[in-house]
Symmetry: C2
Subunit: 143 residues, 2 copies
DNA sequence: TATTGTTATACTCTATAACTATA
DNA sequence: TATAGTTATAGAGTATAACAATA
């Protein structure tokens, strides 16, 4: 395998970026989600572990007041609960409720539905290539 | 190559979707764009061809009043121009200006910068695999 | 004094409804 | 009567600034 030139790497990066963004866009357009995108992101984080609003704001790169509002919305829908932190009276611990887990799963299913139908139309060889590419894309997205 | 089961296809679709959305998210977070996302989308469409606000609204799946506002913002920045349609007095033709083209190119360059740095860290073999995957992803995103 | 979280306030993007002009 | 575009108005998400409670 010959080395690639910088120009070839740049062209690949451009095309790969466009392809990923096109797929993301289609997924968003094709699925009608149970919760709004910014709420969904928070549900994903809370499924990993309960967190403080401050942590959520840092992870999602929004201001603390915005996260307060987002958590309020999710709490009103019964998708998350707030609890005082026994170790630090300033902190609040936000957790996913069973309904929140359900909303998360439903949204993921809706997003997967379109993608699955598209992937199913590819040949087994093409699917296998994408299976390997998926691992690389996850590495690309890691910091 | 053995056929894949429906469950394997679904698993691939899920992981591939997540990978694409993670990459898109990182691209958006890592680059500081010259214009807002919804404005950028419109610039991309106008780079393909001049269009009516109605067409833009349909393509971008927003309401006509929202597109009026978006076009107003772009026009105030000097990135697009409005012109009357000589064939239909009700219609307006929105076109990209040289400044608009420049803003489009700058935004694309900013988005590519991070992606290129990440792709450059892969081996030539891995880059080649992603080059093939890119073509498949574009097919997946096509309707 | 620093940090967590909220409230107050304003700006932006979105939508629906209503209006104007043209076909 | 139907369509393109705009204006009017309201709702939701975001931000900064200011405040309360705790460390």
């Amino acid at each position: 395998m010959a080395d690639t030139t910088p120009a070839e790497v740049a062209e690949l990066a451009t095309q790969l970026r466009l392809a990923c963004m096109r797929v993301s866009r289609r997924v968003r357009f094709e699925s009608v989600d149970a919760v709004a995108p910014h709420q969904f992101s928070v549900l994903v984080r809370l499924a990993e572990a309960p967190r403080n609003p401050r942590e959520l704001a840092d992870i999602e790169k929004v201001s603390p007041p915005s996260m307060t509002r987002t958590v309020n919305g999710l709490a009103e829908q019964g998708l998350v609960t707030r609890a005082p932190d026994p170790d630090d009276g300033r902190c609040v611990i936000v957790s996913l409720t069973p309904d929140g887990r359900e909303a998360l799963d439903e949204t993921r299913a809706a997003r997967d539905a379109w993608m699955t139908s598209r992937v199913a139309e590819l040949t087994p060889a093409e699917q296998d290539l994408l299976r390997q590419a998926t691992l690389l894309l996850h590495r690309v997205a890691d910091r």
